[in-house]
């Protein structure tokens, strides 16, 4: 039995890890859970740890732990195993709702970082000006990205952003070359940048690299853009922001290399419409 169940002891004895692993004695588990009512620090760590545990379970296709009945519980006798029960469709927990909104806030800065990798001073200045527009539009990006990821067809631009996913479809069928269409009228959205999401495919045999380098080649093989040290986002993609007007009409290819310099992992064609 771990006593006293107080913060220093909890940290010293790795109580949280044993709790998450379901390896505390029932008395210790009870004492630790009671401690959570009075210790915001432990609570926060426990929340993150539980989500990590669930993330691991998701990846392994498992589900929630089930409470074991403590001695004296009126419902004692239930066994601990991996179980599930249906839940009615209701609103999600608040913490996750805010997470969903926050989740996309990294997109624009990443793309601009990618653009910093090259010496296109004027375009960079334009892109940075456009950043404020981008930030205002991030809520839209979130839903767009999810939709696009599932459809993988030609893109309907978001309200204020032009978003294009490039990647191989999961089913492996030959997809049409994605097209960047200029806005119908230059005055309506001509200043908004393209957000291009280069989708990476991680497999157990080939996990994602920590960083990638990119090259954008035009039809003549000229390098129009390059960037090194681009880290994948949590969506397993590399994000690039290109200002409108940066590319003229024609065919292009994004080359993606794992590491710097590294192994070529993808060639992603792209067409800019006229």
């Amino acid at each position: 039995m771990i006593r006293p169940m107080e913060h220093p002891t909890i940290e010293q004895k790795g109580v949280l890890d044993h709790y998450l692993a379901g390896q505390l004695e029932p008395e210790d588990e009870a004492a630790f859970e009671e401690h959570l009512f009075t210790c915001p620090d432990c609570l926060r760590q426990a929340q993150a740890g539980e989500e990590l545990r669930r993330g691991l379970a998701d990846l392994r296709g498992e589900t929630a732990r089930v409470p074991t009945a403590a001695p004296g519980d009126e419902t004692s006798g239930a066994s601990a195993s991996t179980l599930s029960f249906p839940s009615p469709p209701t609103a999600p927990a608040r913490s996750w709702r805010s997470l969903a909104v926050a989740a996309m806030l990294v997109l624009a800065p990443l793309g601009v970082l990618a653009l910093r990798g090259v010496d296109y001073g004027r375009q960079l200045a334009v892109a940075e000006d456009q950043l404020s527009t981008v930030r205002r539009s991030l809520d839209t990006v979130e839903s767009e990205l999810e939709t696009l990821r599932h459809s993988r067809t030609r893109v309907r631009p978001a309200a204020a952003l032009r978003l294009l996913p490039l990647g191989v479809s999961r089913a492996g069928e030959a997809a049409a070359v994605p097209v960047l269409e200029p806005p119908p009228e230059p005055s309506s959205g001509g200043d908004t940048p393209w957000v291009i999401s280069l989708e990476l495919t991680a497999t157990p045999q080939r996990p994602l690299a920590d960083a990638y380098s990119l090259r954008l080649l035009d039809g003549d093989g000229g390098v129009r853009f390059h960037a090194e040290g681009v880290e994948p986002t949590s969506y397993d993609s590399l994000l690039v922001i290109l200002p409108q007007g940066f590319l003229e009409a024609g065919d292009y290819v994004f080359e993606v290399f794992a590491g710097d310099p590294g192994e070529a992992v993808a060639r992603l064609p792209l067409r800019v419409g006229s």
Partner: protein, 191 residues
């Protein structure tokens, strides 16, 4: 960091006010104890929607019992709340029956449960953060530590022996993984 008697700070007064029908006191109780109750509800359920239901049900019952003077000792309030959420969780499992979860294909996308698209999206985000943590750990042995301890619930000593790890390293891996996940979680994003 926390001393005995911490719960007592004003909790007795809070309970007395709830008994007297003060709704502001009820709100204070929710603010103070709600986050931990929500966590425990989450811990005992499969998805966020079920956790939300369990949380609500627990709060309603807790307030009823406090109003009815079924709990007197402020010091025992955490133990009371904890027992309540666990008992309700077990009852819900029984009401709905129990069934073994069929493992999904490891490489398939997560099932969205009975919850909506947002739940599905959040599940995906959690997976991506977790993949980020696994990348961050950098080697297969450390990844094994996470899966074998947190998921397979193997004893730490057995894992250390198997993977030829010291206890210090073992706990450091868990700590680093949790800290990394928390960092991503706090920012709401993984890069």
């Amino acid at each position: 960091m926390k001393k005995k008697g911490k719960t007592e700070d004003g909790a007795g007064d809070l309970m007395a006010r709830i008994r007297a029908g003060d709704t502001a006191a009820e709100a204070e109780l929710v603010e103070r104890f709600g986050p931990t109750l929500a966590f425990l509800a989450r811990r005992h359920t499969r998805d966020a929607a079920a956790a939300e239901d369990l949380y609500q049900e627990t709060l309603i019952l807790a307030l009823e019992k406090i109003r009815a003077d079924a709990v007197h000792d402020a010091e025992k309030l955490p133990a009371f709340l904890r027992a309540l959420v666990r008992n309700l969780a077990l009852k819900v499992y029984r009401r709905h029956g129990v069934s073994k979860e069929v493992p999904e294909d490891e490489h398939s996308e997560p099932v969205a449960d009975s919850a909506g698209p947002l739940q599905h999206l959040l599940g995906q985000e959690r997976q991506r953060m977790t993949r980020n943590v696994l990348r961050y750990l950098g080697n297969e042995r450390d990844r094994q530590v996470l899966f074998r301890f947190y998921l397979q619930e193997e004893p730490s000593a057995a894992i250390c022996r198997d993977l030829d790890l010291g206890q210090d390293h073992f706990y450091r891996v868990l700590h680093r993984a949790r800290q990394r996940f928390r960092q991503l979680w706090d920012r709401g994003v993984s890069i």
